[in-house]
C-alpha cells in the first residue's frame, strides 16, 4: 500500500469520531441508564424488573417468529416462481413487489384497519352472507398479519436474488442423475438458496420483534409488544431507566438471533463452496 498512514488517518478520523460519538456513546448511555436508578446510582433493579415484562418479551419474540416463518413459507414458492419466469416478467414482478414499500409504513399498516375493523370491508362482506362480524382487529393474528405485510418484500427479494443465480446446469445434472422434482428442490435448490433464506429471515425477524405502531394499531390491550412498551416508557418519562433496560434486553435478543443466524449462514456457506 502506497498511501501514507497519515493520509489514511486523516480519511478515517471524521468517520471514527462520528461513529464513536453517535453510535458507541449513545449505546453506552442506554446501558448506563439500564443499570442506574433515577439518581444515577448503580443498581440491578431495572434489569430485575424485566421479569415483569417477561410475557411481553415472549409475546414479541413469538409473534416475530410466527411472522417470519409464515413469510418464509409463502415467499419461497413466489421467489422460485419469479426466478423461473421470463426476464420481462421478472422485472415487472420485482417492480410490483417493491412498489408497496414506497408507501409509508404507517399508512400501509393503517389501511389494514379499514379492511379488518368490526365495520371493515371483510366483516361487511361477511355480513351480506349472514356471517359475523368476526373479531379480526385486535387479535394477535391481525398483528402478525401486519408484520407479514410490511416485511414480506425483505424475504422475497434476497431469496429471489440467490435463486436467479442458481446455475440451471446443476438442475439438469441432478435430473440426469435421476432425481425427481422434489428431490431436486430438497437436495439442490434449497441448500443453494440457503444464504438468501438466512438473510431474509434476519431482515424480517429483526424489524418484526422490535416493531412499534403495528401492534398499537392492529392489536389490542392483549397484544402489547416490547417496541410499543419502550416507546410508551420514553413518552411518559424521557429518562426512563426501565425503558433503557428494556432497550438493552431487546438489543441482546437481536444480537443473539444474529449470532445464531450467522452461524447457520457460515456453516452452510462453507458447505456450498465445498
Amino acid at each position: 500500500m502506497k498511501h501514507s498512514s497519515l493520509g489514511t488517518k486523516i480519511l478515517n478520523a471524521p468517520y471514527i469520531l462520528w461513529s464513536v460519538l453517535f453510535i458507541i456513546v449513545p449505546l453506552v448511555i442506554v446501558v448506563y441508564f439500564a443499570f442506574t436508578d433515577q439518581n444515577g446510582a448503580w443498581t440491578l433493579a431495572n434489569i430485575a424488573e424485566i421479569k415483569d415484562y417477561g410475557e411481553i418479551l415472549l409475546r414479541s419474540i413469538g409473534y416475530a417468529v410466527v411472522a417470519t416463518l409464515i413469510t418464509l413459507v409463502t415467499s419461497y414458492p413466489v421467489a422460485y416462481f419469479m426466478s423461473k419466469a421470463k426476464a420481462r416478467t421478472q422485472a415487472i414482478m420485482m417492480m410490483l413487489i417493491m412498489l408497496p414499500m414506497w408507501m409509508n409504513l404507517l399508512i400501509r399498516t393503517y389501511s389494514w384497519t379499514t379492511i379488518l375493523e368490526k365495520n371493515g370491508i371483510i366483516n361487511t362482506l361477511l355480513g351480506y352472507l349472514g356471517i359475523g362480524p368476526l373479531p379480526l382487529i385486535g387479535t394477535s393474528g391481525a398483528v402478525i398479519l401486519g408484520m407479514i405485510y410490511n416485511y414480506i418484500p425483505y424475504m422475497i427479494l434476497p431469496i429471489y436474488t440467490i435463486m436467479v443465480k442458481i446455475d440451471p446446469a446443476l438442475l439438469e445434472a441432478a435430473s440426469d442423475l435421476g432425481s425427481n422434482g422434489f428431490d431436486r428442490l430438497k437436495r439442490v435448490i434449497f441448500p443453494l438458496s440457503l444464504p438468501g433464506v438466512v438473510s431474509g429471515i434476519t431482515m424480517v425477524f429483526v424489524p418484526s420483534v422490535s416493531t412499534f405502531y403495528i401492534a398499537d394499531k392492529l392489536g389490542s390491550t392483549k397484544t402489547l409488544m416490547i417496541g410499543d412498551m419502550i416507546q410508551k416508557k420514553f413518552d411518559i418519562n424521557l429518562y426512563s431507566n426501565t425503558g433503557a433496560a428494556l432497550s438493552f434486553v431487546l438489543m441482546l435478543i437481536i444480537l443473539i438471533s444474529l449470532a445464531v443466524m450467522h452461524k447457520f449462514a457460515g456453516e452452510d456457506g462453507e458447505a456450498i463452496i465445498v
Binding site: 415484562y53 371493515g120 382487529i137 385486535g138 389490542s220 390491550t221 392483549k222 413518552d235 411518559i236 418519562n237
Partner: protein, 379 residues
C-alpha cells in the same frame, strides 16, 4: 444494476417534481388569504406588530384548534396572516408526555395548553412564567367562574382555553339498556367492545368514582383498590385509546367509551347512533389553560397569540370546531354560537353529580400510581 439505479434516481426526482408542482399554487393561496376576509380587516391594526418574521412555537392537544377543515376558520393561518409571525404547531397526546418533553429540556415552546393539575405541578416546579396581562386585554372576556381557580389562584400563569367534563359515550345500536353508571364498562356482555383512556389519571378516575374515592387521594390503599378494579377490566377491553376513539366510535367499531363531553358532539355529527351520559357516580371536570413555559423564546409573540385566541370571532371558531365548553363570555353569548346552552356542554349544576378536579399529587404518590398504571398496562 447501474441502470436500475439511474432510473430509480430519475424516478425520485420526478416524484419530487410532481409534489413541488402540486405544492406551489397552494402555498400561494395560503398567503392570498381570501378565505380570511371578514375578521382580518377588523383586527388588522391591533395585530400589526414588529414581531413579524419571528417564529412562535405552539404545543397543543390534537384536534384542539380550528384548522380550516370543513369551512371552519384556520386559526393558525389567520394569525400568521395578520401578524407575519410564523407559527410552528405541534401536538401532544397527554399531559404527561408534554411534561416529560418540556421538563427534560428536550424541546422548547412558547405556548402550551396543559390541564389544571399539570399547570399546578409546572408552577410548583418553576417551569412556567408569569403572563403579562397588560398585553392580553381580551382577558376581560373570561368568565369570572374560571378565574382564581385552585391551580393558579392569583391568575398569574394561565388563561383558560376550554372547559370540559368526562362522560360515557355509547352506541345505542349495541347498548340498548339504560346507561347511567360507569359500571357498564365492566359488563362482560360488552367484552371487546369497550374502550378506555390511555392515560393514567383519566383511566384511574373512572375506577375511583366507582369506588367512591377522592380523585386526589393520598392513601396508597385507595390507589391499590382502584388498580385492582382496572386490572379486572383489562380482559374486557378492546383497546386503550386517546384520539383514536373518534374513528372507533364513529365507525361503530366499539360500543362504549369514556371521553370528553365536547368530543362526543363531534362524534355525534358523524354517527347519530351515539349517545352520551354523565354517570351517576360522578365525573372529572377539567380546565385546559394557555401557559407560557420558562424556556419560551418568543414571549411577546406568545402574549399576542393568547390575546388572539380570546378574540370573540376566533374563540367562536374554536368553540364551534372543538365543541368544548368555552370559558369566554364573548363566545358563550355570541349570537352565532350554535352550541349555546347545549345541555351536554353547559349542563345545569344538578344534572351532573359529584364533579371533581384533578390536583397535582405529591411525587411519592404520583410515582406510586404510575407504577400501578404500568402493571395495569401489562395485565
Amino acid at each position: 444494476m447501474k441502470k436500475r439505479l439511474i432510473s430509480l434516481f430519475a424516478l425520485l426526482i420526478a416524484v419530487c417534481c410532481v409534489f413541488t408542482a402540486c405544492g406551489a399554487p397552494d402555498v400561494k393561496s395560503d398567503t392570498d388569504g381570501n378565505s380570511i376576509s371578514g375578521i382580518a380587516a377588523s383586527l388588522e391594526s391591533k395585530y400589526t406588530t414588529s414581531l413579524a418574521g419571528t417564529t412562535l412555537n405552539v404545543f397543543n392537544w390534537g384536534e384542539y384548534i380550528s384548522d380550516g377543515s370543513d369551512d371552519s376558520m384556520d386559526v393558525i393561518a389567520e394569525f400568521e396572516e395578520l401578524t407575519g409571525i410564523q407559527v410552528n404547531y405541534d401536538n401532544f397526546e397527554s399531559n404527561e408526555t408534554m411534561y416529560s418533553k418540556l421538563q427534560s429540556g428536550a424541546v422548547s415552546y412558547d405556548i402550551i395548553i396543559p390541564s389544571d393539575y399539570m399547570i399546578e405541578r409546572m408552577i410548583s416546579e418553576d417551569l412556567l412564567q408569569k403572563l403579562d396581562f397588560s398585553k392580553i386585554p381580551n382577558y376581560k372576556f373570561i368568565d369570572e367562574k374560571y378565574k382564581n381557580l385552585y391551580f393558579d389562584e392569583n391568575n398569574e400563569y394561565s388563561v383558560p382555553y376550554n372547559v370540559g367534563m368526562v362522560g360515557l359515550i355509547y352506541n345505542t345500536t349495541i347498548v340498548t339498556e339504560e346507561v347511567d353508571s360507569w359500571e357498564i364498562m365492566w359488563d362482560e356482555k360488552y367484552a371487546d367492545q369497550i374502550l378506555t383512556f390511555n392515560n393514567s389519571r383519566d383511566a384511574f378516575a373512572i375506577a375511583q368514582f366507582m369506588l367512591g374515592q377522592d380523585l386526589n387521594s393520598t392513601n396508597k390503599e385507595d390507589w391499590d383498590k382502584a388498580a385492582d378494579l382496572l386490572k379486572e377490566q383489562t380482559p374486557l377491553l378492546q383497546a386503550r385509546v386517546m384520539d383514536e376513539v373518534f374513528n372507533k366510535m364513529e365507525g361503530g367499531n366499539a360500543a362504549i367509551a369514556p371521553y370528553y363531553a365536547g368530543d362526543f358532539l363531534t362524534m355525534y355529527d358523524a354517527n347519530e347512533d351515539l349517545a352520551f351520559v354523565y354517570p351517576k357516580e360522578g365525573t372529572n371536570i377539567f380546565v385546559d389553560s394557555i401557559c407560557v413555559p420558562k424556556n419560551a423564546q418568543n414571549y411577546d409573540a406568545a402574549m399576542l397569540f393568547i390575546n388572539f385566541l380570546l378574540e370573540p370571532e376566533v374563540g367562536l371558531a374554536n368553540a364551534e370546531y372543538i365543541c368544548y365548553a368555552s370559558p369566554n363570555t364573548a363566545v358563550v353569548n355570541h349570537e352565532d354560537y350554535s352550541l349555546k346552552g347545549n345541555e351536554i356542554l353547559y349542563p345545569d349544576d344538578e344534572a351532573v353529580a359529584n364533579t371533581q378536579y384533578f390536583h397535582d399529587i405529591d411525587p411519592e404518590i404520583r410515582s406510586y400510581y404510575e407504577k400501578l398504571w404500568e402493571e395495569i398496562l401489562r395485565s
